[in-house]
Symmetry: C2
Subunit: 235 residues, 2 copies
Amino acid sequence: MEHIARDADVAPVASLIADPTRAAMLTALLGGRALAAGELARVSGVSAATASAHLARLLDGRLVDVERQGRHRYYRLAGHEVAEVLEALARISGRPPVRSLRQSRQARLLEEARTCYDHLAGRAGVALLDRLKEGGYYAAHDLTDAGERLLSGLGVDVTGARGSRRRFAPECLDWTERRAHLGGALGAAITGVLLERGWLRRGAVPRSVVLTDEGGRGLSALFAGKELTSGTPVT
Amino acid sequence: MEHIARDADVAPVASLIADPTRAAMLTALLGGRALAAGELARVSGVSAATASAHLARLLDGRLVDVERQGRHRYYRLAGHEVAEVLEALARISGRPPVRSLRQSRQARLLEEARTCYDHLAGRAGVALLDRLKEGGYYAAHDLTDAGERLLSGLGVDVTGARGSRRRFAPECLDWTERRAHLGGALGAAITGVLLERGWLRRGAVPRSVVLTDEGGRGLSALFAGKELTSGTPVT
DNA sequence: GTCACCTTTCGACGCCGGGCGAAATGTCGC
DNA sequence: GCGACATTTCGCCCGGCGTCGAAAGGTGAC
């Protein structure tokens, strides 16, 4: 995130992102799910022909990967480095243009819980980070020893995440809540475990996830257990 | 680096970077120094008129700041977030087009030591990270307790750097050495202290820095002192 | 005040690239 | 094999933007 490996010329890739249609496609793919060419044409508001041309250019520029499945072609972002470019760009970009009503209806569904590329965001993501902080598991952008034990016990590969090239455990402002939630390699690892365990399930709307009943029980047990030892029970 | 604060419209900013002339200007500014409009026109190979138009757009897009000084106008990147966008883009960009002879002559001067935006790179940056690792001051993308004491004693604000929104202490491949060096908030803080102490001095070529005699003595004393306690002296 | 220099503004030119509809290619279901 | 559907290819139009030279706006040196 901090340094260039060589003095690469940055313009061609930026040019790919610079077109509003392609930017909409890439932003849609930030949810981490692969989308078919037709879906991408719809979300970006262009004809299938136009979308196809754009996707060909994104593919040529190695910003997306494609997977053929029958008569569909599913496109996904070509790795988290690409997602990080988009996120870095978003961080210095102004507020978005007005959104359609359909989109704002879907937005409400995303408030409760959603993923951003590959980690948990939304109200659930904010709550998770709050619990980690309250319980003394997380401080100063890092896990405490207690936090490391807690998550390792849950099945999260903490040391693997720490060795990743990505930021380990950054806090980021949430889209809807205006509060911090957990991202980075650790956020992704946690989300992966929650999905594996069935504590979290992907929803119908792209990027949305729901906390299952089992997940609710599991998480409150997890944090309640610790809260007993630290003295301040929380429901 | 990991998450978008809101679903910002990323295309306009990308569009600013997408033009080769503006990209050359921004890349030149990655050295961290402010450059005059005329210099930027020269490094990007366009007329003063064209450069002026580009700089006006970059200014309008908040990618650069300007400082008037007499009849010159010095432009600089508008914060490290902008640098991080460029670096993230460079990471997924292909290799650069062939460079001019003049540039490759200057490149040799940069091999020994240089800064990348605000932290130490080049051979000296690689050597610094090597020493930190050998001495047990740095491991797994983080300072050890010993490293924290060592750098705090030198005057580096380690806790301040850890609280920063930037990655704390990422390793990155170096441009010339193909080896890792230290970046991020910690890399910047260290470089700042070295410059304050006069151990490092900015050179004539933009982005280049030289290790002063005093700096050479200071650093070897710093690491030699530790090496005595850890058992393996290094000259 | 006058000259020299750096920078910006103005006006005009050229071209690249995104847009679409229609037709071609490919794949599934029967 | 045939029709329905998803996707790509082709041909064409059009707007926006990067480019420059010339001239104007400011600033420092003397």
